[in-house]
């Protein structure tokens, strides 16, 4: 009987317009009922040629472009480009600026992880935790707005320091936020971590074995959830991260559930770093004297920092002029997306959505 019934696979275009592809990602799915037999990601819908435009701009003009490179953690994008330009031109960064950079980047990491946790829960059907995480993310964005006037694309970390000093009310407001965030993260955990449906939907789903982490160069919380203890802040220290006492949370479940737990743990660790940075914040200038149209030495550098989505790097080639000769950006999401077909093959459509969210893929970082 089964031989007489003809069944065939169905091709479904998930995206570019789809509520849970987080941007304009298109996945060509070959599905057999609910089971995914194949998945081909199609990228490029958000291509803005940022790297090419940078070649026609001075270094100072490149910074706001970098905001658009990965707008969920724009502080890190500013920072990684500034690091590259500074490395090429031997600029000394004032102490206070280094502390401010760390504070801003860690706050931004928390905002990004809160976004990811909220969106993951929404993709799995729990709509309420999404609003809760956004409530706390809002407080972080208020801090940014108070500092540099922007909530998403900050243009704050510049070559030679930061664009301006923090206002006097920043420190008390930031401390107020840090005082509540631990309790709020406990709240999310109460709603999600122990929830049997959440566990059923995440545990054992979207397995990334340790070998796959190396094969696809997966980094960030997704790698650390697969038992790979690698954090650039610790293992290839940049800026002043060696002065702070924090842990790198590593989990060994390799699944969506542990990726979620890794992010929860990192929010707590980031809060720890910001607290220490606020305590040790020195007085002084926030920006080295750098002319508007400064020239760098000719040469090539690669700088990388730990972003909330993994390793973020800039490969900068300079011919000694006012403008970069070539800029090449690297974001973690690209590797995650390329690993996606291997992860989701054989799972259900509903799992694909959960896995996609748990990898924290955002498209602007991939298409640039």
């Amino acid at each position: 009987m089964a031989e007489q019934l003809r069944t065939e696979e169905m091709m479904v275009n998930m995206g570019p317009q789809h509520p849970s592809t987080h941007g304009v990602c298109r996945l060509i799915l070959t599905i057999d009922g609910e089971v995914i037999n194949d998945c081909v990601p199609v990228i490029g819908y958000l291509h803005r040629a940022i790297e090419k435009i940078c070649e026609n701009r001075t270094y100072a003009q490149c910074i706001p472009l970098m905001d658009r490179f990965e707008y969920v953690t724009a502080m890190s994008c500013n920072w990684v480009f500034a690091l590259a330009a500074e490395k090429l031109s031997d600029i000394e960064i004032p102490e206070r600026a280094e502390y401010l950079r760390v504070i801003m980047a860690e706050l931004n990491r928390m905002a990004s992880h809160l976004l990811c946790i909220g969106v993951t829960s929404m993709d799995i059907g729990a709509l309420t935790p999404f609003l809760y995480t956004f409530r706390e993310r809002e407080m972080i964005l208020d801090l940014f707005e108070m500092t540099c006037g922007q909530r998403l694309t900050y243009n704050y970390i510049r070559v030679g320091g930061v664009s301006r000093d923090i206002p006097p009310e920043f420190v008390p407001m930031c401390r107020q936020f840090l005082d509540i965030i631990d309790a709020k993260v406990d709240d999310y955990e109460r709603v999600l971590t122990e929830n049997p449906i959440w566990i059923a939907r995440n545990k054992g789903i979207g397995i990334i074995p340790e070998q796959m982490v190396y094969d696809y160069a997966i980094s960030g919380p997704s790698a650390r959830a697969s038992g790979v203890n690698f954090d650039i802040r610790k293992h290839d220290t940049y800026s002043i991260y060696d002065r702070f006492d924090f842990e790198v949370p590593v989990f060994y479940g390799c699944d969506s559930y542990d990726r979620y737990r890794a992010r929860i743990a990192e929010v707590r660790q980031s809060a720890r770093i910001v607290r220490q940075a606020l305590d040790g914040l020195p007085d002084g200038p926030v920006r080295a004297k750098v002319s508007m149209n400064f020239k760098t030495k000719p040469g090539e550098v690669y700088t990388r920092i730990e972003n909330s989505r993994g390793e973020m790097g800039i490969n900068l080639i300079s011919d000694g002029s006012r403008k970069p000769f070539r800029v090449r950006a690297r974001g973690g999401s690209y590797n995650h997306l390329m690993a996606l077909p291997d992860i989701v093959r054989g799972t259900k459509i509903a799992d694909l959505v959960a896995i996609f969210a748990s990898l924290d893929i955002i498209m602007p970082e991939i298409d640039r």
């Binding site: 509520p19 849970s20 609910e34 059907g125 709509l127 309420t128 929830n195 509903a350």
Partner: protein, 344 residues
Amino acid sequence: MELAPVFDWLYNQLSALGLGDTLNNLISLIVVSVIVFGFLCLVALFLVWWERKISAHVQQRFGPMMTGWHGALQTVADAVKLLQKEDITPAIADRNVFFWAPVVCFTCAFAAYVVIPFGDGLIVSDLNIGILYIIAITTFTIISLLMAGWGSNNKYALLGGMRSAAQGVSYEVPLVLSILGVVMVTGSMSMNDIVRAQSGWGGFHWNVFFQPLGFLIYVTAATAETNRTPFDIPEAEQELVAGYNVEYSGMKFAMFFLAEFINMFTVSAITVTVFLGGWNGPFLPSWVWFLGKTLFMVFIMMLFRWTYPRLRVDQLMEFSWKVLLPLAFLNIVYVGVFAKWLNW
């Protein structure tokens, strides 16, 4: 307030006019239908607003605030807007199936109210197979969802329709079996008889105290029947965009939407009738008790939606066949044994 007397009174008045018997019956039926229809539309509009308010307060928002008192007229405004929308039928859709799906859906949701006792004597028609009739008629909703999924000729809609068919069939079984326990004890399928059997103890001789397991099974299965979170996989917007109703717009969409809320009210009303003593209760008028209890059950279902994540389709089936169904059988055995021994 009583519908049967209204019907009789109308019938007598019309007889005096000297119209034929058939015509008399027809006119009286239409009048009663319009009353029920008006009530249901009000209920659906209220529930949509209420859900938005509950979700807003769970999520620390305000929800609609601008239209009327605390946004009370928001759903009216939305309905008016949907009425004005262009009615789009996709070019590749199966026109007939596409057209009839929302009609079937809404009609079935509406038809269940023939036998629901809103209060003492406040019932359109006390059929002697009342509960069986409700189960039969609400099952038609699944067919309409399948029609919508198939008729749209859209892959997401088809997946949604298939999911709803699979889910509906699976959850229908524990749902019926959980009600069977009450029917065994009562010895009747008439809704009025079931309510009257619970009128002891000053109106608190509720079935839920004797069959808590059956009650839990019914509420779980009913949540799945009405496609509510955590069982809302047929319309999982994060996976299927909108599921079976993805191609619908304007008033056809509104019919699906309102039918969903009417269905939620229906299953809550059945829960109240079968397990929570129906309109029984001291001091207050019977219809106040009935509405109060029903709205409380609706409130519980809404809280489910804004608290829990969604199950996956295979986990959902597993839960129905491997957990709910054995428990439902256990409930029947338990009810049978105790009904025999203790003469409930």
